[in-house]
């Protein structure tokens, strides 16, 4: 598969064009790693701050969903990655609401 040359980046569109190019030549893995990184950082941060894993799952899932929604509207992440972020938000909420302890 032939990828576009970096010289095709329209620099007048700012960093977004560079990110889109990097995302394209990495087979969408750049955006996927962004989402995964956001999810992990929020989960770990919440766990460290609150010592609550189940709450962290819900908060990280919902936060990642919001970012993924914006990325999806902008065409930065695929529908497949966005659907996984929705699934994480729903499953995280389920874990939180079904916690009886």
């Amino acid at each position: 598969m032939a990828y576009a040359s970096p010289s095709t980046i329209n620099a007048s569109q700012g960093l977004g064009a560079v990110l889109n190019y990097a995302n394209e030549v990495s087979g969408n893995w750049l955006s996927n790693m962004f989402l995964l990184g956001i999810w992990v950082v929020i989960l770990m941060g919440y766990m460290k701050a609150q010592n609550d894993f189940k709450g962290g799952l819900a908060v990280a899932g919902y936060s990642t969903f919001v970012v993924a929604l914006l990325f999806w509207i902008g065409g930065f992440v695929s529908g497949w990655a966005f659907s996984i972020s929705i699934a994480f938000a729903i499953i995280g909420t389920a874990v939180l609401l079904l916690d009886h302890e």
Binding site: I73, S78, I84, A87, H100
Partner: protein
């Protein structure tokens, strides 16, 4: 422990409600920005499935409400005990199983969790529900 079944029931209903809210939001935003949602809200993550898991709650609640409003106190109590309780518990069972089915469908189709894992979880929850409902009927809590 006594309230565990009731909490599970309410928890599953709230999860279904949350899922509907999330997917409705996605549909609205996608309409605004002309995005294709066929890849997202189709399959196991469809609004219809979430809606189906919630709609039975409203139907049963309205039926019970009518029974309480229209009958005398004795016929109402007898009706609930003789006719209503079994239907009520069956609906409780369905409410949880439908919501859980949607969740496990998402886990299987979207998160690619193997089917044998979700089957085992479903089996455990069904056993738990049967014992939970039996306990609920036995002690009336």
């Amino acid at each position: 422990m006594e309230g565990a079944f009731r909490n599970s029931l309410i928890g599953f209903l709230l999860v279904a409600l949350f899922g509907m809210m999330l997917l409705t939001g996605v549909s609205t935003v996608s309409d605004t920005y002309s995005k294709d949602t066929s890849e997202i809200v189709g399959g196991s993550m469809s609004l219809d499935k979430f809606n189906q898991s919630i709609s039975s709650v409203e139907n049963r609640a309205e039926t019970l409400s009518d029974t309480f409003r229209e009958g005398s106190i004795w016929s109402t109590i007898a009706g609930v005990v003789v006719e209503g309780i079994f239907g009520l518990t069956k609906d409780m069972f369905d409410m949880v199983i439908l919501s859980l089915g949607v969740l496990l469908g998402i886990a299987e189709d979207t998160l690619k969790i193997p089917a044998y894992v979700t089957s085992v979880i479903m089996g455990i929850v069904i056993f738990t529900l049967i014992f939970g409902i039996w306990r609920l009927l036995k002690i009336g809590d």
